[in-house]
């Protein structure tokens, strides 16, 4: 049984098909990169998995359970967490508190703050390299610090599957390298990862497999090197102009 199974998943906004009949299986322990040009439907796919949007048709299965129409916090409690493309911490809370919030409903509920939760939050801040910032207001962090905080917050809920949406967009090569190490460390904690990464700077180095989308359709899946050589993928990324000309010449 795969951890996550997408079954003919489609999403239509008005006349526009954001996603069309996506079938995909994610196995436990994998790191899968979700790639494709702007507007390919990557974020929409994440929104469907996390319950933010409901699909027009199709099903989402998680550990053999149909979670298609569960509410976001329920899906979260079953073990799927995500980060947003634009980082969204609780801006008026301290960094440590931001992470602790993820612990509130993740285990046995306590009314008053629990030392174990605080300790775990500190460990996670250590992991992402923000330990020295625990008392800063989250709203005052830099972009790269916010993204690292996002990761710590997501891990605080102890997800089985973590969806990362453009975590390294705008990062320097060095920062991308550090992020890749973080992703590996998350996997070592037993987390399966699904990574949206438009420029593939992260997913090419860490992914076991890639899933490529274009205009809401699956155009390729498989080993990163194979997907990269796939003609449809190259065409999607480099534009279709030459190809169109070639096709019209053929006609």
């Amino acid at each position: 049984m795969s951890l996550l199974r997408l079954e003919a998943l489609s999403k239509r906004f008005g006349e526009h098909w954001a996603l069309k009949e996506i079938d995909f299986d994610l196995e436990e322990g994998e790191i899968v990169g979700l790639v494709g040009p702007n507007g390919a439907g990557k974020t929409t796919l994440f929104n469907l998995i996390t319950g933010r949007h409901k699909p027009s048709s199709g099903r989402v299965w998680f550990e053999g359970k149909d979670i298609t129409f569960y509410r976001p916090h329920e899906i979260q409690r079953y073990g799927i967490s995500r980060t947003f493309q634009s980082s969204r911490p609780f801006a008026r809370m301290r960094v440590l508190e931001n992470v602790v919030v993820g612990r509130i409903f993740s285990g046995k509920f306590h009314l008053f703050p629990h030392t174990e939760d605080t300790n775990m939050a500190r460990q996670l801040l250590e992991l992402v390299g923000l330990a020295h910032k625990e008392d800063a207001l989250a709203g005052e962090l830099t972009l790269s610090e916010r993204r690292r905080l996002d990761l710590a917050r997501a891990l605080a809920t102890e997800p089985k599957l973590l969806l990362l949406d453009e975590v390294v967009a705008g990062f320097s090569p060095l920062a991308v390298k550090q992020a890749a190490e973080l992703v590996q460390r998350a996997r070592e904690r037993g987390v399966t990862l699904f990574i949206v990464d438009h420029f593939m700077s992260l997913s090419l180095t860490v992914s076991d497999r890639l899933l490529a989308l274009d205009h809401g359709e699956k155009i390729a899946e498989g080993k990163p090197q194979e997907v990269m050589r796939n003609r449809k993928v190259i065409r999607a990324y480099l534009g279709t102009r030459h190809d169109d000309e070639a096709q019209s010449a053929e006609r």
């Binding site: 916090h73 979260q76 801006a91 602790v100 993820g102 409903f105 703050p113 709203g139 917050r153 605080a156």
Partner: protein, 285 residues
């Protein structure tokens, strides 16, 4: 004379903060802009008045009944508001405007249009302390208001439920991603708001005449202070309450009591001119 003004300003201001807190919390968590807030306070005041008048229950002992009655009413209202679609702020203003009129007429029917006051003679006696003198009424108002504000502060900042509420105020989607049931938090916010309203009502009825449309002033106060402070920030709410209370006390001394009700209206207009983003009480994301 100025110590008197200061004492009365801080007393009134603390009470105003209590009046605003329920509104701010409900608005922050659920985006329900409840124009019937003042009517709910007057309703709780009437419940207390009725118990005091009919059964001779002392003011402090009317609180449980006032809280319970408001809680039931607020949870019914929560069901209504939760059916609204986005944009929540706009739709809830329209719905609650209608509800306010409905509540006013209901109260007119049950309690008539007469002016009622919970008169407790003891509250007019004065306590003399070195350098200042205040009435038992002011002392009670100040103590209860500050105590409730402090308890709410502890609840919001030092318990997990409070942290979940504040997280929901700051970003609902991120909150849901942290496993927080946003709808559940909405019900909780209405429940806590109802307790705060149930506490404010009897106090309101002991310092201000109760009549079916008396709630307008309380709504205005709640809206003004909330816009000044933004939601979910009790310390700033208190500051806003004190400024408003002090401004009213000064006005009463300098211009006379009849000008008092204008103060919050003018403060609201000034705030809207100076901080137009404050209407939503949230920072830009």
């Amino acid at each position: 004379m100025w110590t008197t003004v200061l004492v009365s300003g801080i007393t009134l201001g603390s009470f105003y903060t209590l009046v605003a807190l329920g509104f701010a919390l409900i608005f922050g968590v659920t985006h329900t802009f409840n124009l019937a807030h003042g009517e709910l306070i007057v309703f709780a005041g009437y419940v207390a008045y009725w118990m005091w008048k009919t059964y001779g229950v002392s003011l402090l002992l009317t609180f449980p009944a006032a809280i319970l009655a408001t809680l039931v009413l607020c949870l019914i209202l929560q069901r209504l508001f939760s059916r609204l679609r986005e944009p929540m702020e706009m739709n809830s203003i329209v719905l609650s405007f209608g509800l306010a009129i409905l509540l006013q007429n209901g109260m007119l029917f049950f309690f008539s249009g007469d002016y009622r006051l919970i008169r407790v003679p003891l509250l007019n006696q004065r306590i003399h302390l070195p350098g200042l003198s205040l009435s038992y009424g002011q002392f009670t108002l100040l103590t209860i208001s500050l105590l409730v504000l402090a308890l709410t502060y502890v609840l919001l900042h030092h318990t997990y439920l409070g942290k979940a509420l504040r997280a929901t105020i700051q970003d609902r989607e991120s909150a849901a991603l942290a496993g927080i049931n946003v709808r559940g938090m909405g019900i909780l916010a209405f429940a806590i708001g109802a307790v705060l309203i149930g506490l404010a009502g009897p106090l309101f009825g002991s310092i201000h005449y109760l009549y079916p449309t008396a709630g307008l002033q309380a709504t205005l106060i709640a809206v003004t202070i909330t816009i000044f402070a933004g939601v979910g920030q009790i310390r700033t709410l208190i500051l806003g309450g004190w400024i408003l209370g002090f401004a009213e006390s000064c006005t009463v001394v300098l211009l006379g009591a009849s000008w008092r009700e204008l103060v919050s209206a003018i403060m609201l207009l000034t705030l809207l001119a100076l901080r137009p983003h404050g209407i939503l009480g949230r920072e830009e994301q």
